[in-house]
Symmetry: D2
Subunit: 259 residues, 4 copies
Amino acid sequence: MLDVQKQSDERNIEIKKVGVKNVQYPIVVLDKKNHTQHTVANINMYADLPHNFKGTHMSRLIEVVNEYYVDISMKNFMNMLDKIRSSMKARKAYVEVSFPYFIEKEAPVSGMKSMMEYNCQYLGEVDDYKRKFYVGIKVPISTLCPCSREISDRGAHNQRGIVGVKLLFGSFFWIEDIIDLIEDSASSEVFTLLKREDEKYITERAYDRPRFVEDVVREVTQRLAQIGIFPWFSVEAENFESIHNHSAYAYVEWGNKET
Amino acid sequence: MLDVQKQSDERNIEIKKVGVKNVQYPIVVLDKKNHTQHTVANINMYADLPHNFKGTHMSRLIEVVNEYYVDISMKNFMNMLDKIRSSMKARKAYVEVSFPYFIEKEAPVSGMKSMMEYNCQYLGEVDDYKRKFYVGIKVPISTLCPCSREISDRGAHNQRGIVGVKLLFGSFFWIEDIIDLIEDSASSEVFTLLKREDEKYITERAYDRPRFVEDVVREVTQRLAQIGIFPWFSVEAENFESIHNHSAYAYVEWGNKET
Amino acid sequence: MLDVQKQSDERNIEIKKVGVKNVQYPIVVLDKKNHTQHTVANINMYADLPHNFKGTHMSRLIEVVNEYYVDISMKNFMNMLDKIRSSMKARKAYVEVSFPYFIEKEAPVSGMKSMMEYNCQYLGEVDDYKRKFYVGIKVPISTLCPCSREISDRGAHNQRGIVGVKLLFGSFFWIEDIIDLIEDSASSEVFTLLKREDEKYITERAYDRPRFVEDVVREVTQRLAQIGIFPWFSVEAENFESIHNHSAYAYVEWGNKET
Amino acid sequence: MLDVQKQSDERNIEIKKVGVKNVQYPIVVLDKKNHTQHTVANINMYADLPHNFKGTHMSRLIEVVNEYYVDISMKNFMNMLDKIRSSMKARKAYVEVSFPYFIEKEAPVSGMKSMMEYNCQYLGEVDDYKRKFYVGIKVPISTLCPCSREISDRGAHNQRGIVGVKLLFGSFFWIEDIIDLIEDSASSEVFTLLKREDEKYITERAYDRPRFVEDVVREVTQRLAQIGIFPWFSVEAENFESIHNHSAYAYVEWGNKET
């Protein structure tokens, strides 16, 4: 059977990334409390393609997923990229794995437990000269507007927001610890289950801790920098404003990607 | 050229709806202030198909869109469904047209003007015995929690929400008037452009008008019923809770669809 | 602490559904081959609210999720609704649970294995007089156009499509069996991993089995009716047409919901 | 009234981007055939914020939108960014405007006319040292697999795909011309309205012009490079594979961003 992909191409154009996108797969990741967690992932996998080849063999990328999905831990993730390079005979490999991650949280006063979802992402990029591994984490939060509180005789507008960090991997860390740090940088964290005593606590605490999106990204940046293990990271905060139908947004970058 | 769709089918199964979905088209609708408004629509169009025909001629549905898109007013909308019935030789026709509709609003204190978007929908269903035309309108709002305000020593959690109404058409009305009614039923309306004096006004007004989703749907229901021109309608309210990562939701139906 | 929700309401408007929407939770469901499967769910839970109460206690809905998420099987699902009724002191309860479900499939010629995702849904509605439980299943498929094949000298346009069924529960069945039935009703099933010999097989098989969306919904309807355990069901098919930027769509209902 | 945003901040962290996101606004753009086109936009606008200021004045960004939305042409777009810089007293300004753009197309044989939607984007970035303006255009296409055609005795799998280009602006061009170029690089273009004679033509033409995603990005790259007015551009192609439930994807970059 003819291998059309292997034929030569005359157009002299190298393809930077070619592969599969939006592959849905069940995966297993590390969990600080329960050792492992079963979740579901959306996966993109790419390799480069030299100018002289007509096409790539995409089924090999799925074969790599098949081999690695039972252990998508930080430690194992970059092995997956090496495997792509060897299997595709490519110089570069790129993988993006996005998944919901669940943590059990306790309500602040009642102590009642429930699960909270955090969307996470592993992003890797490997070639002969560099190996980059980024971890993305999205954390829903609550923010109360400092300006509204200052100028109003009563109340202050507040809203749900979301903080997203993208961390260049230096050494192993727990996603749970980063989530704690982010939640503590907001006016309040959010919960799935709250009783009335918790609602009172959260309302008052948020009122006492007003934050612009600007404050949130700076607070998170300061604390992430203090950990000292990330060569580079970005922090973004988006408020789903309760007085507008659009979002307020802020974005910071820190460190050096090319270290 | 053989007409495959016209061939007969032996399976004896009538198809309730068959047609085209997610057709994107520019449309022109009526505007209370500016006479007409150019916007873009997502359109679904279906007809029924008797058990003895193999297929329908979907291109005819697009020909109908082509004829009507320059005037998708309430008055003209149902003509489009009649045209589908005659063109498809069908007993029933269904059309769903969804579009963003823009209205210029003034900020409450500064008077500054900006445009607000409201997602609207025209839904029609016609056969030999009935003609139903529904108008859907979605209005972003702000709600402040009565419980949080009552139990907390300071502040009260509030958030963006959205109210959706679906109105069975009785006689002509302006979308603008329904939007006004809904915005006035919330803790506060939301705006695209607000200066600080407006923010103070809105913050305090929302604090003075706490509303659960239950309150919002009841308030809107009461006022819509008072207008007296809708044989049937539904009202739903969804709060993007600022203390949770999920929504609070309420839904009411009123009147009689079969009148 | 005052219970604001428990206060009375004078507007005399009963709320049909009130509750929580878009709750993300990890769940465990039954799996024909592996006994159980860990997945993630999007959950909506509602109860009715009599006209004389101001608000509902939404946190109790999350407490019910907390109790049931480790076993969302068909057998256990309706118990969750009974629990909501008793816990909320409501006459009616509604639950919608949507989740991706994974099945390992073998490629038709090479026999290579990979996981396929199917989006499923459990929908329940309970009051004093009726208990309705619906199972929704979405199956990606491939369809090849009979008209295009018939009129063209070479080739035939084909595309990915999706079939959705909603089945009124009568007695226990396996989701896996319904998926098989649907996949066999299309021009071809789709796979995550295919080698060249599989691609040849699928291409030729689809060419030999042309199907309109009308054919697909009729074929699925006929086979579901033959199983004889569903009092009512609906079948829809949507083609992401390769010659258009919109979809072709067909929808059938069968049986009697009120049995 | 206190200006909280103007207060000083001690954390010594510069914010790269701060502003508003997901602002929905009606806009007017240039149209090659009809001079102007009314459409609707999703707008993000950001400025930088020096480390010593607590917050930014986001309402000023909406005031800029208000001034420019009636003429978002390529010629006028960058003026909007200059206005942001002066109005916010910022060194940098960023604007992203995304909008559907409609063009009337003729079916290839019947000549029947209908409207096609193309999602476009204007992206601008300005500071003291550089002015970058990118135009993004997304074009739905149809692709037929060369491998499937080669190895199969009959038929060939094909599917809808989408090509996205991002062009660094050098000198004025018409969006219409780029869309033509892209549509001609696919196995076939797609249409909103086709009669049977058109369907035959398109089916056969696609069969005669098989293309991998790799072929499509190379073909588009080659032609865009030949135009010679873009200092840099990227081309991506995504196939919504008809034999898989995931996409095939390819991405190329060309030229030099820093010229």
